[in-house]
């Protein structure tokens, strides 16, 4: 607590304008859920590592917060004020001030690096693609989540991402390649035997992603309605029975059938004309959770069957509409698949 006070006081002295803004508090509110209270990582990548802090500029941190990484989970923070963003950056910097042998925030020139992008591509394919993807689309999954088994301890960031490319200067990328980041799978490529020229060529190739397919990974689905609805020609009871056999026929496990208001009204007083049918394909669920541990927000699969003004409606949420909220393009495919499964199951049930 005292140390925190000191830090705040120090920052306050150096930058009187930030004194009023609580960087630690803003970090807890906006970032800690993903990046960890002490920057150790989680759904997000680690932010407190020595080599990370020593190889990124404050400008990079500010832009990353503002722009986010489209399609790569990291949101963009547009509602924070400039003072808020600066205070968060200072808070993150505070972690390096506490570590031995760390330096002040580096500053990189914005000067482009000249290199041979064609040669760079060959070097990239050989040295980088296994982790960062053939097109720089980044590794699969999120941050460092330890809730289930996975291959790499830390997600390799997408290098073709517009948010990354707009935030990182060539010099910064180069510095990262030269030094590597100790404590992560990202090693120093100078030590791996690449020459400075090789590294310049790789940087030129990474920069060239700006012109190529970068937008592809960054795709965010937006679609239609937030609810999938069909009208059933059968009664509520018949529709539920029919759904049940459809679910089982589609490799889903039936979890339970319950009235909507179960748990809200006295037992026996439930409205039998509003029914929820829960089911799950655990294989699919496991795959989805590996892609993004947040998907539980629309799981397990649920179909609502209810009587409304003399009609029987069969409905589900539309995962395709919801996928944009997660800002995770890997999840898009799964959400589209799920929307399709929902439509097929419902239509089969009311056939």
């Amino acid at each position: 607590m005292y140390r925190m006070f000191l830090l705040v006081a120090m920052i306050g002295l150096a930058h009187p304008v930030y004194a009023a803004v609580d960087g630690a508090g803003l970090y807890v509110q906006n970032c800690a859920a993903c990046h960890g209270a002490q920057g150790g990582g989680g759904v997000g990548v680690p932010l407190s590592l020595h080599d990370f802090l020593d190889s990124v500029s404050n400008e990079y941190l500010r832009k990353t917060i503002r722009l986010g990484r489209q399609g790569r989970v990291m949101p963009s923070f547009r509602k924070l004020s400039d003072d808020d963003v600066n205070a968060i950056v200072q808070h993150i910097r505070g972690w390096s001030h506490k570590q031995e042998g760390s330096h002040a925030a580096p500053v990189f020139s914005a000067q482009p690096i000249k290199g041979d992008a064609i040669r760079g591509k060959a070097l990239f394919d050989k040295n980088c693609a296994t982790c960062h993807g053939v097109n720089g689309e980044g590794g699969a999954g999120t941050g460092v989540t330890m809730s289930r088994p996975r291959n790499w301890p830390i997600l390799a960031p997408a290098l073709n991402n517009p948010g990354f490319l707009a935030s990182a200067s060539d010099e910064m990328i180069k510095a990262t390649l030269m030094k590597g980041r100790n404590g992560t799978p990202m090693v120093s490529f100078l030590k791996q035997g690449l020459s400075k020229k090789d590294i310049n060529d790789v940087v030129a190739y990474v920069r060239a992603f700006e012109k190529s397919s970068g937008a592809k990974t960054a795709e965010v689905l937006s679609s239609e309605s937030a609810v999938i609805v069909r009208e059933s020609p059968y009664s509520v009871e018949q529709t539920v029975a029919s759904l049940k056999s459809t679910i089982l026929g589609n490799n889903f496990r039936l979890i339970r059938i319950q009235p909507l208001d179960q748990g809200f009204v006295e037992r026996g007083k439930e409205n039998k004309k509003r029914v929820l049918v829960y089911s799950c394909n655990f294989n699919f669920l496991n795959e989805a959770l590996k892609v993004d541990p947040r998907v539980g927000l629309f799981l397990p699969c649920r179909v609502t069957v209810m009587e409304h003004k003399g009609k029987v409606l069969v409905m589900t949420i539309n995962p395709k509409r919801l996928s944009a909220i997660f800002n995770n393009s890997e999840l898009n495919r799964l959400c589209e698949e799920m929307s399709k499964i929902y439509v097929e199951m419902i239509e089969e049930a009311i056939l």
Binding site: K63, R78, L80, S147, L285, N286, T316
Partner: protein, 165 residues
């Protein structure tokens, strides 16, 4: 935190950013669409506190879905992962007659999962439902739900972190 007070300037600033950096792509989802919080306590305690806090906020917990149990039984490894359903009996009864499609988003839910010694809580920001269900009279309901979720999360965090000290 009161984010709405930054709305005007945030938008203007976003615009300026767009011009300055010539950003031609659409920015990712705004951070506000999901509400997430990290609690520095292990899962079992946090789960208990969450249920207590939901009740203290005058909502009913109708059910807890044990997603992790299903996964483990099927042979997959996972840390604790549950979904807590909650709502107000009155709203669960009345809203579906007026807004049948809204029923697919009811009861409200909070996803809770373990990350090593800590616990994450997560919910869809109910205010987002306003995009899906634009009826003006629902706006207030969604705002009340948003506040409830934020209050629940804040309270769980402060209660857990207070008791840990």
């Amino acid at each position: 935190m009161n984010t709405t007070s930054f709305k005007c300037c945030g938008l203007r600033r976003a615009l300026i950013y767009t011009l300055v950096f010539g950003l031609l792509w659409v920015l990712p989802a705004d951070a506000d669409e999901l509400i997430m919080v990290r609690v520095h306590s292990a899962f079992p305690e946090t789960m208990t506190t969450l249920q207590e806090v939901i009740r203290k906020q005058d909502y009913t917990v109708s059910r807890i879905q044990r997603v992790d149990v299903g996964l483990t039984k099927t042979g997959y490894q996972t840390a604790e992962y549950r979904v807590v359903f909650f709502g107000k009996p009155r709203e669960i009864k009345d809203l579906p007659s007026r807004y049948p499609e809204l029923t697919t988003y009811l009861p409200l839910k909070i996803t809770i999962f373990a990350e090593q010694g800590e616990t994450l809580l997560m919910a869809l920001n109910p205010i987002l439902l306003g995009d899906f269900f634009p009826q003006p009279e629902l706006k207030k309901t969604f705002a009340v739900w948003e506040k409830a979720v934020r209050d629940i999360f804040d309270r769980v965090r402060t209660e857990e972190e207070g008791s840990a000290k």
